[in-house]
Symmetry: C2
Subunit: 395 residues, 2 copies
């Protein structure tokens, strides 16, 4: 009676969300302090005080028109501020006309993919990856091509990308700092990727867009550089949200920045603005457009996240788990001690540890630990991890 | 290089939005007070003071977690309040489980259509109608079937609907009070429609859903009844937004209410919640979920709109224009004195009157006047309308 494809997919729905719901169930059963929920990238922190002050400023003002329609692309002054910020940060040359304000990164990805893809065109994703990319690509009528990153390092396997490019390749999605691995793709690998793309474009007479999903770009530790995709790739589209950097995931606010170097970028932006409307977003929420424009230089305190990363990383590696030390985002991607990561998560749940199987990111044999959680919970969880390690004879 | 279908449609993009942009251009040229912009349903009023107070209450509070992720369906307490409100208003029997909070009515329609439609299934719309329904249906893989309403009265032509139902009919979209006509569909016509639907469902062995787009349901004059579609139609899905009723169009907040009488409604809701996420909305903006939940009984002052309707309606009919007196919404749908409504709008623009051609709503020969505008502008516009009428020898 309903959409068959959607109904059939319901059982297989997001492992992350399933774990989130399971967490709620276990908390009811055992109490809040007995459940160690590492399932969802739902920042535990409140937004920075600058953001809350800015919100108060607008709401307590007598300013008119804060809640009205504007151009579907967003408020012109907000778009200009985003362009100025990107120019300053990356030494590029954007104007307000290259920016579309959107309802978060998931909205930006859906709008971008629909604006680019003709039926049957291919979009490459680098595993492990946030699997809903595949659903977005499907909604836009495209086909997903999965290419694995390098074993253990999770850096881009540029040779594998080159081999996977066909005359139907329209775009490649990259996500750095990466969910689920926390890895930042190196400048070297991105520049190599750019060379491969330009070579294959010339060879096949096609255009390949680099869609960079960048919600974690401000969550970086130890001063590591996140190379600017807008400055490296000519046909680049950078999509950002303030869900993680300003801890505003519920408010659905972000932007698309389409490089001024894209040929006929005006048409692309027109298509995006029209789609922003007709896909049902209409515009990014108006009040929060104003708020984020005041706070482009602000980010949540990464020192807190770093502290959490270090507590967990140090403990897990000490008790025998294998894990790359992440440079950004708020995830650890830990090797499961058995091949079957889903079974391993089942065992972890016995200790009230809620982890997400790597299979849910096309990274089987690993589990994702989202450490954007209360530090008290993290400290209480260490004993449970130790018991888990012992069950597998690790320590 | 981009999505061909979208790029080709760009030239034909929304006449309403084109007029909105034209208005901005003319205002720059002639000054704000010399341009009479009746193009966009962008409420001129600010949100009711109760809404602004509620917003201040949350923003100035120390309440934690206002901006975080919640279940993709929305906050449970907000969904419960919406269900309670609908039950009280319409004497029906809904729970929070039948409500999905969404980013406005356009989002609700996209989610609903995608949840219902299999490729090639048909959705009926009653002309004149908000033409983007056709785009939403297309995005969901369906085909749009247009059925005209009754000549002059714009009430539902139930016989025409019956004739247009096929074994591929999946849904019918109704919109009352109507954009662009301001007409409220009578209880009698809705009950007849229900009989026809039940008869054809039995005859053809199909399920036909009634999708009711209800953003204007609180904007009604002279105490006229808007019959509850949830109480009339068994397989009804009511979609509402607070863009018009609370003057919050920029904030993108609304809900889907799927009737508890729909067989297997749990599966439908699961599909909607999943699609809310994967289509890129993720969830309705969190802060405004809380705000609207406090203000379900509140609406903008309809007396102001009524006053504006009366000034314009009385003047236009006095100077010779023909127009049905609308019972709701904030639109007049006026018969053009010539067959070509687009040419007529061109002539009106000479007098700095920005009207939208009825053709943009599949209602050729008419123009839409959105009177959700400043009352001073409306009063200043009367002389321009008189000149326009004289040019056509009406008065």
């Amino acid at each position: 009676m309903f959409n068959k494809k959607i109904v059939e997919s319901l059982g297989k729905s997001s492992m992350i969300r399933a774990m989130f719901e399971e967490g709620a169930r276990l908390r009811k059963l055992y109490g809040d302090d007995k459940v160690f929920d590492f399932s969802l990238g739902n920042p535990e922190v409140e937004p920075p005080v600058e953001v809350l002050d800015s919100l108060k400023k607008y709401v307590n003002s007598e300013e008119q028109g804060l809640h009205k329609y504007m151009n579907n692309a967003g408020f012109p002054d907000v778009r200009q501020k985003v362009a100025d910020y990107l120019n300053k940060k990356s030494g590029i040359d954007m104007t307000s006309e290259h920016i579309v304000m959107v309802c978060g990164a998931a909205a930006g990805l859906n709008v971008t993919l629909k604006a680019l893809l003709n039926p049957g065109e291919e979009v490459m994703v680098l595993a492990p990856f946030f699997v809903e990319y595949g659903t977005y690509i499907d909604h836009a009528g495209g086909n997903t091509v999965i290419v694995n990153t390098m074993k253990d390092s999770f850096q881009i396997d540029v040779d594998a990308v080159e081999k996977a490019i066909t005359n139907k390749t329209k775009a490649i999605i990259i996500n750095s700092p990466n969910n689920p691995t926390g890895v930042i793709y190196s400048r070297e690998s991105l520049e190599q990727l750019n060379k491969v793309i330009e070579k294959k474009e010339a060879e096949l007479g096609i255009s390949i867009f680099v869609i960079s999903d960048e919600p974690y770009v401000s969550l970086v530790y130890d001063g590591i550089e996140v190379p600017s995709t807008l400055s490296i790739f000519k046909k680049s589209i950078s999509i950002n949200s303030f869900s993680k950097s300003l801890a505003l995931p519920g408010e659905r606010i972000g932007y698309i920045a389409a490089s001024s170097r894209i040929p006929d970028v005006e048409t692309l932006i027109s298509a995006m603005v029209t789609l922003n409307r007709t896909l049902g977003f209409v515009n990014a929420p108006s009040l929060f457009q104003k708020v984020i424009a005041d706070n482009l230089e602000v980010a949540v305190n990464t020192e807190n996240y770093k502290k959490k990363r270090d507590i967990l990383y140090n403990h897990l590696t000490k008790i025998g788990f294998k894990c790359i030390k992440p440079d950004g985002a708020f995830y650890l991607f830990v090797k499961a001690p058995i091949e079957d990561d889903i079974a391993f998560c089942g065992t972890a749940a016995k200790y009230n540890l809620l982890l997400v199987p790597g299979s849910g990111f096309r990274g089987p044999g690993y589990v994702r630990i989202a450490y954007c959680a209360d530090i008290g919970m993290i400290e209480r969880s260490l004993e449970a991890f130790t018991k888990l390690a012992k069950e597998y004879g690790l320590s």
